[in-house]
Symmetry: C2
Subunit: 217 residues, 2 copies
DNA sequence: TAGATTGTTAATCGATTAACAATC
DNA sequence: TAGATTGTTAATCGATTAACAATC
C-alpha cells in the first residue's frame, strides 16, 4: 500500500526550505540525528508545526531519536524537486539580471539559467558567466528552441508586460517577475512576483514597531 | 474624534504595495477615480478584500465613484512610510550587493543606502553609484557614526551571522537578509529573510502543478 | 429613483497551536 | 521502566469571503 503524505501548504513549503538549509549547515561531525524539537528551537518555530511540515516531505522520524539527518536532507531535496533541473532564461541583463545569472547556487535547487536577453546592442553578443546574451526580439524563438520553461523578468516595470508576452509566446510556463509590474498571463502560466518594495515595506513596518516597543536605543 | 482605522495584516500590507503600484501606473489622462471593484478585477483579487485593505490605509471612498486616485496614492504612500527615508548599509558588495546599491528606486519607498562594506581589499575604497565601499571590519563603527538603522546582508551564508553581529553592534535595528542563513538577533532587531531559494521553490511547484493540469503544451 | 459602489457584520476556510496517545 | 520524541486529533486563531445594509 502506497503511503499517502498530507499535502503541503505554501507557508509550510517555504519553511521546509529553511529546514533543509539548517540541517545541511549542521556540522558534519555532529550527531547523525536531528529532532523536530531541535529544529523548532533553532528557527524559533513551533515544534508541532515542524513535525507536521516534515510529515509532508519525508517518511517519518523515530520517537526518542528524531530524524536521520542524511535521509532527511535527501528526502527534502527530492520532495522539493532539487534533483531535477529546469532550464530558464533571464530577460533584462542589468545589475540584477547579471547578479541572478552569476548566482551559481541556483542549480543546487533545480534552476538552470541557460541564456540572457537584452535590448541594448552593446550587451547583445556578450556573455555573463559563460551564458550568451541575445537580442530581446529573439526571446520567443530561442525559448522554444532551447526548450526553456522558466523566464526571469528583470526589466523596468513599463517593459515587463511586453517581455512577459514574448516569453509566453516562446512556450515559457513559469515567470519569476522581479519587476513591480502586474503581469497578465494565460491560466497555464505560473507567475511568482518577487517584490523588493513589498518585502522592504514589511521590514520597515517591523522596524517601526521595534522602535515603539524597544525605543530608539 | 480621531478616526481609528483597522490594523493591517502582513499579507494585506503586501497587497497594498501592489495597489499603490497599480494605481500609480494608471494612465495620467484617465478618469480621476478608481473603484475597489476595478482594482480587484485587474489584480485578480476579491473585491471585499481590496476594500478592507484600503480601509486600513486611507480615509475612505465614495459609493458609486470609488476612490480619488490622487489622494489614494498620497494616503497609501504616507501609510507605508514612503515619505520617510531610513538610512541603510549594504554588507557584501558582490553582484547582488552591487545591484541593490545601484537600484535607484529604493528611495521611492523610504530606503536610502548610504554605504557598502566588503572584505575584499580590491573593492574597499572604490565606489558604487557614488556610495563608498569600506572594509567590513569597520561596519560597527561606521554604522553608528552614520546613524544607519537598516543593514542589507548580501554575503555568503557562512559569513552572514558574523556580519549580522557586527551590524547589531553598530546599532542597526533592522536586517534585510539576502543570504539563506538563519540569523540569531536580539529581540529589538527585526529580520526579514529574502530567500531566493524559497521563492523559486514555490514557483517550481506552481510550474509542476501547471504541467499536471494543462499538460506540457 | 435606480444602480453602482462603499463598508460592516456574519460565515467560512485554512493554518497554527494545544492536548494527548503511541512508540522507541 | 521512564523519558524523550513522534504523530494525530481537537481547539484556536486569523484571514478570506459571503451577505447585506448604507450611501451617493
Amino acid at each position: 500500500m502506497a503511503e499517502t503524505r498530507p499535502a503541503i501548504s505554501k507557508p509550510a513549503l517555504e519553511r521546509v526550505v529553511r529546514y533543509l538549509h539548517y540541517v545541511k549547515a549542521l556540522p558534519a561531525d555532529g550527531p547523525p540525528n536531528i529532532s523536530a524539537t531541535f529544529i523548532a528551537e533553532a528557527l524559533a518555530l513551533n515544534q508541532v508545526q515542524v513535525r507536521k511540515d516534515l510529515a509532508c516531505v519525508c517518511s517519518g522520524g523515530r520517537p526518542k531519536t528524531g530524524y536521520l539527518r542524511r535521509t532527511l536532507v535527501r528526502d527534502i531535496e527530492h520532495f522539493l524537486g532539487y534533483d531535477n533541473l529546469t532550464d530558464a532564461v533571464v530577460v533584462g541583463v542589468g545589475n540584477l539580471g547579471k547578479a541572478l545569472m552569476a548566482y551559481n547556487n541556483f542549480t543546487a535547487f533545480g534552476l538552470n539559467i541557460v541564456a540572457g536577453f537584452d535590448a541594448d546592442p552593446e550587451k547583445v553578443g556578450s556573455e555573463v558567466c559563460g551564458k550568451k546574451i541575445f537580442d530581446v526580439n529573439r526571446v520567443a524563438n530561442l525559448c522554444r528552441r532551447l526548450n526553456a520553461r522558466i523566464g526571469l523578468i528583470t526589466v523596468p516595470a513599463d517593459k515587463a508586460q511586453d517581455v512577459c508576452a514574448l516569453l509566453v509566446k516562446g512556450g515559457i510556463r513559469a515567470i519569476w517577475n522581479f519587476s513591480p509590474a502586474n503581469l497578465t498571463v494565460p491560466a497555464s502560466v505560473a507567475v511568482k512576483n518577487e517584490s523588493l518594495a513589498a518585502s522592504f515595506t514589511v521590514l520597515s513596518r517591523m522596524l517601526a514597531k521595534s522602535f515603539e516597543t524597544h525605543g530608539f536605543d
